[in-house]
């Protein structure tokens, strides 16, 4: 349903992608890890390689957890489906869109 208003009520989103230029907002949700109370939100270039995203953004955040293992195995999800990140592929090419939530879960042996 639409809002009821006096006159036209139509405003652009204050978080729309164009406000971030060539970048976009990306969330990383470390599932099964209660150390982090909520998913993280990053501003990352669409053209950022996964390896850079991992080493420059995710690891510095996640390693604040004393139990985090940057070399560990993680299962990834995007849009409700498994995601297989490749180091030399950009976020955009991996299918990551503005404000997407990337799921991350430690794989236990």
């Amino acid at each position: 349903m639409a809002v009821k208003s006096i006159g036209t009520y139509d405003f652009p989103s204050k978080s729309r992608q164009e406000l971030y230029g060539d970048d976009q907002l990306v969330h990383v949700w470390f599932q099964g890890n209660p150390w982090f109370c909520a998913a993280a939100c990053y501003r990352a270039p669409k053209a950022m390689l996964w390896s850079d995203f991992w080493s420059q953004m995710v690891v510095p955040w996640a390693e604040e957890d004393p139990d985090f293992d940057p070399a560990g195995a993680y299962a990834w999800t995007l849009h409700g489906k498994p995601l297989t990140p490749k180091d030399d592929v950009t976020l955009e090419d991996l299918g990551v869109e503005h404000k997407d939530v990337i799921g991350m879960r430690a794989v236990t042996a």
Partner: protein
């Protein structure tokens, strides 16, 4: 007591009801030189139908002279307490400097809301068609200004000695966790007059008021904060009038036309959940921030909400076809986990906040285990144990990054799936090709009802990334927030903690 009134003159006296009628309600007339509709241009667009404004009942029947007399007396008493407390260095008799974290949160988060209420009840005092509700709104408007100012004046004394109070207005406009209460009230102020009446007059001032304020004030009383207790109870005495206005408002709308019922129901559904999310800050305050506990969040919720509102109020409103708020079951299901999740979040983000946090002490954890036998040991104790070990190894859990926020309530997305306290609840909606995440079924429902509204939300995290908050680094943002050293982070060893220890050094406590 010097304000005992004279006995009524025996002959020819109008009753309180007649007098009120004559002095307040009879002042209106039907305009003929201008279009009456143009005098009240805002009461049509929301779809509410009012047939007869004269049916509004106002049980308080207060006139301006009586109002001024009693309010002046209340303030005389209150300011005497404030002055005495300040002169006697009363702040030294608080249970601990850490207690004031709850009051910092109050000044930063709640006082500006009182002010917002003041301004918008003035709007109702202008824009409602009936003189009865206009006068009640005007009284409430200046009451809310009273609350704003008595809160500032009460906490002003603490500002002189403690961190975190000094820049509360600017913080309310800028800081991430304060966008939760700010956006809540902005949502109400940007709504039409009837929705505001239900949002604030009814949902906030009646449905949730006891849950919000009474625990705060009892907490103050239990922790040696006489001024806060005094202003709180003094404000609450006005609040009882506001509750009456809220309840009268809903009954009036429901009785005026059956077509109003579904509109009002949707507003109750929306505003219960909006308000409930704001009370998350109260939940953690009760269970974690008060050095001496009054009651747990769970007890407060059961008493003030489940017992008084669900069993009392909603049974009454069922007569009109009103059902308990949508998503109320999700709120009930959260009562044993909410405070733990919220405090854990504030704890790990307190480096970017204007209050301090600490790991609960051993005694405190024991209390939490006993108070929350089903949840604390099972889900939360292990995290604190891990954090204690982390601290022993030289760490302190401060998140190095920014959290994902809910598009509606703006709380970091920390809440969990109904029935599963281990999985964060993530909801996503799309509007005009853009994704919007919400923290719960309640917030998602609210978003999807009025997406045009919520896409405008000024989400602090997104704004920081747009470069609108002072700069790209955390210190830049903190400077823009006006946060000074000592306002934020770990409480133990903080400026307030060190001062507190110094001030009490050498004065061995004599009994407790």
């Amino acid at each position: 007591m010097t304000i005992a009134p004279k006995a009524p003159r025996a002959p020819k006296k109008l009753s309180m009801k007649q007098r009120y009628q004559v002095l307040t309600r009879d002042l209106d007339w039907e305009p003929s030189y201008v279009d009456p509709k143009e005098v009240f241009p805002h009461t049509d667009f929301e779809g509410i139908i009012i047939h007869d404004w004269a049916k509004w009942e106002d049980p308080f029947r207060l006139t301006v002279d009586a109002y001024c007399k009693y309010q002046a007396e209340k303030d005389k008493r209150l300011y005497a307490v404030l002055d005495g407390f300040a002169q006697g260095q009363g702040h030294l008799t608080l249970t601990d400097a850490a207690y004031l974290n709850s009051m910092k949160l109050f000044l930063q988060g709640v006082t500006p809301l009182e002010y917002q209420a003041h301004r918008n009840f003035a709007y109702l005092a202008r824009h409602l068609n009936g003189p009865g509700p206009r006068f009640a709104s005007l009284c409430q408007s200046i009451d809310e200004l009273r609350h704003t100012q008595t809160e500032i004046h009460t906490l002003s004394n603490y500002n002189k000695y403690y961190s975190g109070f000094h820049n509360y207005q600017q913080m309310h406009d800028r800081v991430w966790y304060l966008s939760v209460p700010k956006s809540f009230f902005d949502d109400a102020l940007s709504a039409g007059p009837f929705e505001f009446l239900i949002a604030i007059g009814f949902s906030f001032e009646y449905l949730l008021t006891n849950l919000l304020f009474v625990p705060f004030m009892s907490g103050a009383s239990f922790n040696g904060d006489l001024p806060t207790m005094t202003f709180g109870f003094s404000a609450q005495s006005d609040e009882s009038r506001h509750m009456t206005l809220g309840l009268e408002a809903i009954k009036f709308l429901l009785e005026q036309d059956e077509a109003n019922v579904p509109i009002v129901q949707a507003w109750i559904d929306k505003w219960f959940w909006r308000g409930y999310r704001v009370t998350a800050l109260i939940a953690q305050m009760l269970d974690y921030m008060l050095p001496r506990k009054v009651m747990s969040w769970k007890e407060a919720f059961e008493l003030y909400f489940e017992e008084q509102m669900l069993k009392g109020l909603f049974a009454d409103l069922a007569f009109y076809g009103i059902k308990p708020p949508r998503h109320v079951d999700d709120a009930i299901a959260e009562k044993e986990i909410l405070s733990h999740q919220v405090y854990w979040t504030l704890y790990q983000f307190s480096h970017a906040a204007a209050f301090t946090t600490s790991v609960p002490t051993e005694d405190h954890m024991k209390w939490l285990s006993e108070t929350y036998p089903e949840t604390f040991d099972k889900h939360y104790k292990a995290m604190w144990d891990k954090e204690q070990e982390n601290i022993a190894n030289g760490g302190r859990h401060f998140v190095r990054g920014l959290p994902q926020l809910c598009q509606v309530c703006q709380v970091p997305m920390l809440f969990t799936e109904p029935g599963d306290p281990t999985t964060i609840c993530q909801r996503e909606s799309e509007f005009k090709g853009e994704k919007f995440q919400t923290c719960s079924n309640g917030c998602q429902w609210i978003f999807e009802r009025e997406p045009e509204k919520y896409v405008q939300a000024w989400l602090p995290v997104h704004q920081i990334y747009q470069g609108n908050c002072g700069g790209p680094t955390v210190p830049d943002v903190l400077e823009w927030y006006g946060i000074q050293d000592g306002d934020n982070g770990e409480h133990l060893g903080s400026v307030d903690d060190r001062n507190w220890q110094d001030w009490h050094a050498g004065s061995a406590p004599e009994g407790d």
